[in-house]
Symmetry: C2
Subunit: 192 residues, 2 copies
Amino acid sequence: MSTTEETKPALRADARRNHEKIIEGARKVFARNGASAQMEDVARVSGVGVGTVYRHFPTKEALMTELVRRTFESFVVTSREALAVDGEPFEVLADVMRRNSELIAGDAAVQQAMMGAGAEVWEGTASERQQLGQVSQELVERAQDAGTMRPDVGAHDIPMLMCGVCATMGHTAKMFDWRRHLELAIDSLRAR
Amino acid sequence: MSTTEETKPALRADARRNHEKIIEGARKVFARNGASAQMEDVARVSGVGVGTVYRHFPTKEALMTELVRRTFESFVVTSREALAVDGEPFEVLADVMRRNSELIAGDAAVQQAMMGAGAEVWEGTASERQQLGQVSQELVERAQDAGTMRPDVGAHDIPMLMCGVCATMGHTAKMFDWRRHLELAIDSLRAR
DNA sequence: GACCATACGGAACTATGATTCCGTTTGTCA
DNA sequence: TGACAAACGGAATCATAGTTCCGTATGGTC
């Protein structure tokens, strides 16, 4: 596959098993605590020792990046699915935003990543974000062609608005309702 | 003034001078680095020792809270001024949002406070936020009575949207333009 | 201008949490 | 099943940054 002759010595069975356990445990811990999650917690919840976590991921940043990367991958999937949906184009786009927001809602680490916390995480997800951008571009063009989306906004405005919604998700104030924020953001994109 | 007979032994001249220097220095450091600013830096920039910083503020949280509180006070001032402005009510409100955003823009600590980082800071500014809420309420009512603001939004939506704009301000991505985000947020409040 | 409470400076202390190290255990393969 | 490399566990280490302590300096007052 790769031109650089990657040596992949094939993991031992227990190592492969632990790799999964760590990703699963880490997802829970980072989802709950965001970037301030502790590696000891990840190890405990995953049912392995800290040393094992570090054997699989060189740093906390690297582990978090992998988790966020996988989530962004799933955004790409839901967005691509929307390309095949037959509906009013602006509503299709709005539904993608709603669907992806629901995925983000339970995960503090992803919220923080959307908000730009941590250069490594941001850069480590460049490929996924780029793919997401392409799909969004297509959805936006359809909606603008249909005349139901403002012509003076672009696909690049969507992550910016989502970043704002994520800030609301993470906020403790009871009066802040991210679903409401999202609907306002969607409305701001709607043609008048 | 106070019913609890506060003993205020009158600060020595050098202490009063240092108090100002610390607030001034801390403003710079927290504005640049947000909550992750270091007390050693605050001391150095202020031109005093760390011990002196702690003589004036018991904890880092307390210092940060005081800074944020003062900024929120200035929001109350600009918002109150707007009550006296004679103009189209929705545009008056939008201008308050623009003006206050410009004040926030240079200050990472205030951005983070708006985004709900730090329980003590949030609670320590309750009075100012409450005053701000009252003034906003009045501005919103005027705009809604004029029919230029959506009737199904409220004053409480404004800090939520501002929270989102603050997230954009703090974001490193070059494509994120908080002034653009703000205009979209304002548009989402506009009557159709 | 001497006294002394107030205030200062910054080295030392402490807590927290990421990362490393190494003795032990376990899969794999002959 | 014996050998050995791969992988594990978790105590120990290291780094960072908030906070405390105490010897020294200074403003206010008689």
